[in-house]
Symmetry: D2
Subunit: 390 residues, 4 copies
């Protein structure tokens, strides 16, 4: 059997619904590809757009049964919860400001939730969602998708296993260039909502990509950032939200770090990179070439650990589908979250413990960390970079 | 809409069957993941193993309807052709020596064929298959999957468009290391059949990976190799087929080249790389980092063209799913072939011309080129490297 | 003629003396190699060690005439200034705290000075040196050697020429790992003085390598850092000076940046890297592979400009010795400063204007910037990262 | 002391003369920079050009004493041999066809010779030179300069030490692009003589850069190529010598290999690269980034061995001048040969054994291998690629 094939491990496919993700949307199609890849999900229902006609057409595009193409999330949550074959989980892939309301509706309807990041635009919403999921005993996953990369998981395991010793320094960054010009003044839908405070919340780059960098740092470090000092910048004239930000980080365990996120760094597409240094070694990983993890043991030559190759850890192999040297990428990592979430739900349906590896999926608590990060960054920057607790 | 999403372009899913690919197999799972990714295929039938019990269990694993789990390909071809809802195409993913017979059976049953490479172990079989597909007016695709990479297609278009001028030199190689030791003496199934002449035919590395390198060279060059001089080597004691080979190439258009394939090159996983040089520019692409194509115009700095990024061509964008900087890999390229084949079949069902881009899928004629390449390599090497026509 | 050969351009060699740099020293030998490479200097005199016997033996090693091997810098300055064939310039390569006194002595003796960095350990000393050099109309060069790299000079010229548009973001770092452990507790001479406040001044990593990063940023940006917020860290127990530091930068022209320097980043040897982003393009350069400059024009693929290759600028070609593709490195860049300083001095001796390119050599004013940078970093960090003016 | 500084190890500088290398020449300046760097040579005499006036002016440029600026090599050999302070060695840096005659003259005059490559244009000349040097007990070094790289020496030591096991495969190449067009039709002096059979001998690219690749392969492999099959090509219309060549190699020890050299590979500057594979590991080195050697032990992640860094061998450290992470390049490697030759001569003058490391310098026997390589390549290609013994 192909090493990491997820097929055949679960004989019952789960049913997936979606809020958002209709025609013209971006991340919804990614979620659907991710859900399909490992054959654990059937996509069966959706409230795909706030525009009724677009919702209907999108449902047709995606071959949903007409009675499961809903005009809005509330109708969908109610109807699905009453079906004999309801969706097992809903993916919420709307813009940031529209995460909280549908999430609450589905949780209240007893349906597991898979929510895009950042979790919410306010801390209060985030806390409520976590509480609600806990009260209802439902899974509330947040798609910090980079945690699905095999070598990201290996890096986390190596840090936890002491392979780089006591952690000292974390350098993380996420650099893009697609907002170098005032793209939001064009018809570019993604640019418009990502620079609109009414939709994105109080931050631009910090929320869109800074949260990914922050999550990746905490995920691999296995430690929380205690406080940060931030400088949020707007370089494009007339832009209402930050398009670049620098931060210094202090972790609770004594490590220090820096975080940079930018959407005006010309030449960078999705330059998410992280480096961690302990007193016994260093680690380096780049999202744009995710099949290599550089491990430098103190006093030895750096080693190139390749996904599913020599030196790869069981935790990385388990998240791989194909042999070393055949690159997996963004969609495969995203698919890993969907495979893991399927395992978590299936284990509940089957009254068994889930595969421990599936427990790596980021949950509401991780989403809340992201919201706190945003709040602290805004507060610190407003206070001219004062160190601010998360 | 996410740039290259294949969803929603075809409202009718096609039905896919498979010969081979059951428990313990490798490439079958890859074909299924590839078929799923873009949502154009339902996998509904299979003769998944020559072992009846394994076939049955594999069918269960994959949730096939019991009546479409067949004990052998002949029964499957016959039964499917008589169903009101027959499979639209069959994927043949058995070892090399078992391609020809099932391919003939399905062609005779009027079913399109998607066949793994190398096409067959004899030239005669290959020619017959091509003729049969032509006679029956059926699609006969060969999964030289690397042709599905967006930047491979762009490289081909650039050469065809004269961007590197008149082609002079082609350097191609495919280096692995998994057969450095006598792995075939263990229980390793892949190693056993790939080094067994009764199953693989007259070549080892040359057939398994050399054909990929050869196909890639001809695909991008847009030109045929007229003759070659080969030196096939066996380095592991007791091995019956070549595990390393060097070749010099002469193209019909006057270009020269070299091809190296090895399964004993320690440190290489799937080191498929190609470089092409004309009188106005050069191109370089590496399978292990497929999201970058280096283009060097004469007298100018090399440019890093990134998949779906600045400088990417329409033909590359059309084969992309996600934005630049989010890596796509092996499965996405493989999926592109399945999406294209679906388009070719759908166009026939709908009495329309297919999207011209879908015509890039390698067909029987390309498979025959691979078989000729193998024959010429064997013949040349037996004649101490004499130049041998293909 | 070999493109950038410096030979034959100056028929009179200049005479060089040195303070420090005897047996057991590090940077002195680098200065001598740099001075030799382009054949513009004869090394003829030295006060090579504060230990008289070591000074004598070092002079023998280096084949100095015995009467020009001096026991101390004061004697040397006096004696040389009275010779008919005095040294034209003195290189001061002692530890940080021993720069100011000999520099003053030689300036007072009318001899040009080439001083290692950081210029001094106090701002007052630095200012006095600059004033003294100005009063005596003498050259006072500071060996921020990375400015001698051809592609660093090209980057500076490109920024000045508007090729990346209006500057927005500067990310610079210098990461090493040689002080990951308490090496200063061993006999390691370099480690001992670099962690000793009495010798190094108030900073460790910040002074040793942070100043290089800072200088490189200002040199290429062509702009001054107006203020910074710093977090200086000591990770190795018992260490008295910072071994890691993070900083946020605000440039006077509105650009923002980050600076990281570390001597505990395991796996890094001399990881000095800089990236600059404007509204029309980006630039990236790495000291460890200095023969490539990546230039990303907005909306176009990144271009790999190679030293002396296609796309290299006159200013880079003038600082090159050998053709593109034959790597030049650290010593060549260092030698460029010596060649340029020779040109500056020769022009004075010959009553002519120097080659304008030679004017790129960092001078006392640049050294003062480094001292201010250190002071601001210490002050900011002591004030918990408050933004501090330079 | 700076790790690999060559200073102070030899108190007597040696005296160097040069034939060729005057104004307008290329490689002569490289030899002089290389000789200067480590302070073991004084350049004191020359027959710098066949044009008398150019010879005189070149001597002035280089500050030679007028009585040691000679009109021709014969006069120089005679005069120098009669001086009380004769040159210790002569560097012969003329075009290929002008190596043999001056070499004989200086050997006959009892002066050690340092000769550029390829050694001669005929096998007979090469053999005579070797014999003459042996008869006169003189050093006859051939500047295959890439053997001076620290990590090339380490690679050789690792192969010899069994670290990659029994050698199986050697892939070597040297790709340039400077002759992509008919540059020889311009005033470009280098292009003119390198494409002129009367000056270069029977080969173009094969002699100019193929010999470097061949030498590097044998040097690191520690084994001789027994036979080769070659295909020499001329791509530029009207060109008289090969500008591209492919070869297959068979080593005496059973290893196989391929060699490619090209001067029309657009985008390549000096792409000299080598990979070696044994049954226990692999090695990879690139001239354009010479400070890294990739070592892949079987079944382990590849390791990045950096010059003078962790994992570097004593033989590499001995050939280094500066710490790891500060790149050394082409000139430093070239200088290493000059430092080693100085050691070999000094040992003779001092009646002692030389440092064993200095014995790595390529000698006449290595030069003869290069001449045989050229002859075999020409012969094989003329016989349509027949395997031809060296």
């Amino acid at each position: 059997m192909i090493e990491g094939s997820k097929e055949g491990k679960l004989n019952r496919r789960l049913r997936l619904g979606m809020v958002g993700g209709g025609r013209g949307a971006f991340i919804g199609a990614v979620h659907r590809m991710a859900a399909r890849l490992d054959d654990r999900w059937d996509f069966v229902a959706g409230a795909l757009s706030s525009d009724a006609e677009r919702a209907r057409l999108s449902g047709e595009d995606l071959r949903l049964a007409p009675d499961r193409v809903y005009p809005d999330f509330a109708a969908m949550a109610e109807a699905e919860s009453k079906r004999p074959d309801p969706i097992d989980a809903v993916a919420i892939v709307t813009p940031n400001h529209m995460h909280a309301a549908p999430a609450k509706a589905f949780l209240n309807a007893g349906i597991h939730v898979i929510c895009d990041k950042p979790l919410t635009t306010t801390r209060q919403d985030a806390d409520e969602l976590q509480q609600l999921a806990a009260d209802r005993n439902l899974i509330f996953a947040v798609t910090h998708n980079y945690t699905g990369h095999p070598l990201v998981r290996q890096a986390r395991a190596m840090v936890a296993g002491g392979e780089i010793g006591r952690l000292r320094v974390v350098q993380v960054e996420y650099a893009q260039d697609w907002l170098t010009t005032a793209l939001e003044n064009s018809e570019h839908k993604q640019a418009r909502w990502r620079t609109d405070p009414a939709i994105s919340g109080p931050v631009g780059a910090v929320g869109d990509i800074g949260t990914h960098a922050f999550n990746l740092a905490e995920f691999i470090a296995g430690a929380e950032v205690a406080s940060l000092a931030a400088d949020l910048n707007v370089f494009v004239e007339g832009r209402r939200l930050d398009d670049n930000a620098g931060m210094m980080l202090r972790f609770g365990n004594g490590a220090r770090g820096m975080l940079w996120c930018s959407q005006v760094a010309v030449g960078n597409e999705n330059g998410l990179s992280i480096r961690l240094y302990g007193d016994k070694g260093g680690l380096e990983w780049h999202q744009e070439n995710p099949n290599v993890l550089t491990f430098s043991p103190l006093g030895e030559p750096p080693r190139l650990i390749r996904r599913n190759g020599a030196g790869s850890a069981p935790v990385a192999q388990a998240a791989s589908r194909i042999p070393a040297g055949h690159p997996e990428g963004y969609l495969e990592a995203f698919a890993q979250l969907y495979a893991d979430i399927a395992e978590l739900i299936a284990a509940r349906l089957e009254n068994r413990e889930p595969d421990p590896l599936a427990r790596q999926v980021p949950m509401a608590a991780d989403g809340i960390r992201g919201v706190r990060f945003i709040e602290a960054a805004v507060k610190s920057s407003a206070a001219n970079g004062a160190w601010t607790e998360l």
